[in-house]
Symmetry: C2
DNA sequence: AACTGTGAAACCTTTCACAGCT
DNA sequence: AGCTGTGAAAGGTTTCACAGTT
């Protein structure tokens, strides 16, 4: 067990090492909302307005931003441009960070051309596939290369996206790790294993649909069974 | 201590109305892992094994399953087939629930053919698009219909998936709501507004990538700045 | 002996409400 | 007056550790 002296371990030197995960997950949201507001001519926004645009409540937004530092002005709000810069910088969108996408099926193509990806500082800059018929094609301004050339485009510092069929994902993942990649985003519906030092995230397109189904099912079941007629709104 | 002396409190009629959100979000994961294990010939699994296959820890798994009821056998584990049925039923995958997909671009195509979708009880069964060139095409065994025919395929009880460009999403959403749909999954990178009774979920393909970027950035910044040399392996 | 089911503790996130700055 | 930044309260989730069951 842990020593009973509790949580004083880590030194103070990690000043901003403490942005909560939940907050990080919302920064991209704020960033998009801010870009939108900027296009509409806003120079400053209140937490209320920005929260509305991002689809969260204002207390949460303020708390989130407070974790990055104090970038607002009391009585006024936040400077849109400045806040965009701060968040972008936090997210590491400024530095040239190569994004490599493996698997150029429908999903891969969608991702390669995705506004959200290409938009601000995080464009995909290499496409790889195993299929000879796909290799050589021009997609979203890039030429698809063979997955065997993976070592030439991916390395420490790059972010890899796996959009292959489930069956191929683990092998691709292993190759990426061997090439030194430590940040991987997996869209294939399998649980991948990676060494502890690799940061692996997962997007499962079916999960959200199944969650919806759960709630839809609940609604229907509730209506069937014993609810006292129009109970909820 | 099952229903003996201290079964006080909450009305009993809401027996299973209390599955926590976090648990619901993991059920699809367990389901997939179970299907995999079933294919490999498992008839029972321990919480340890299933947790491993699903990529979570066993305490969490047991707690999650306990919210659905007690389907395990102490000293033995869980019956794979039975558990699959229980979870499927919770998720409403048994009942025929029509899934309508609007927007047949690359992402739409990917979703229509997605193993995870088509796989178990939640196949997409109508495709709609606004583009005349796309309407009429055969995709994943379905003929693409014009979005104006939305009212004919979507209604109360169906689940809708929006995979259109951002600019079209709100209008499609409004039409879906007008048609009586109350469960919508949005892949377009915009914040949609819906009436309170509609259940709207959102998948943002770029968010996860940006979260990875955040962590990658941290790693790099940490290495640059002040870390006490080779602290971690 | 093996393994589930679950209170209780630890941890994390959200919301509230207001002090403090402009 | 208006709005941010933030302690403190409330709520939710994960982990621990063990009683209970087969």
């Amino acid at each position: 067990m842990t020593s009973s002296s509790l949580s004083h371990d880590v030194g103070e030197q990690r000043r901003r090492a403490t942005v909560p995960d939940a907050t990080v997950a919302r920064l991209p949201l704020y960033l998009r909302a801010l870009h939108l507001l900027a296009e509409q001519g806003y120079e400053t926004v209140s937490s209320e307005e920005l929260a509305e645009a991002a689809g969260v409540n204002s207390a949460k937004l303020r708390k989130d931003l407070s974790h990055l530092g104090s970038y607002g002005t009391r009585g006024v709000g936040y400077d849109v441009t400045h806040l965009v810069e701060q968040i972008s910088s936090q997210l590491g969108l400024g530095r040239r960070c190569s994004v490599v996408l493996v698997g150029v099926g429908n999903l891969g193509r969608a991702l390669a051309g995705y506004g959200g990806f290409a938009n601000r500082g995080l464009a995909v800059d290499a496409l790889l596939d195993a299929d000879e018929a796909t290799v050589g094609q021009q997609i979203a301004g890039l030429t698809v290369r063979h997955v065997d050339e993976l070592g030439e485009v991916a390395g420490p510092g790059s972010i890899a996206v796996i959009a292959t069929p489930a069956a191929a994902a683990q092998e691709v993942c292993d190759r990426l790790v061997a090439a030194g990649v430590t940040s991987i985003l997996n869209f294939a519906p399998v649980v991948l294993s990676v060494p502890a030092h690799v940061d692996l995230r997962k997007v499962d397109l079916a999960v959200e649909l199944q969650i919806l189904s759960f709630h839809e099912h609940r609604k229907a079941a509730g209506a069937d069974e014993r609810v006292p007629a129009g109970a909820s709104a």
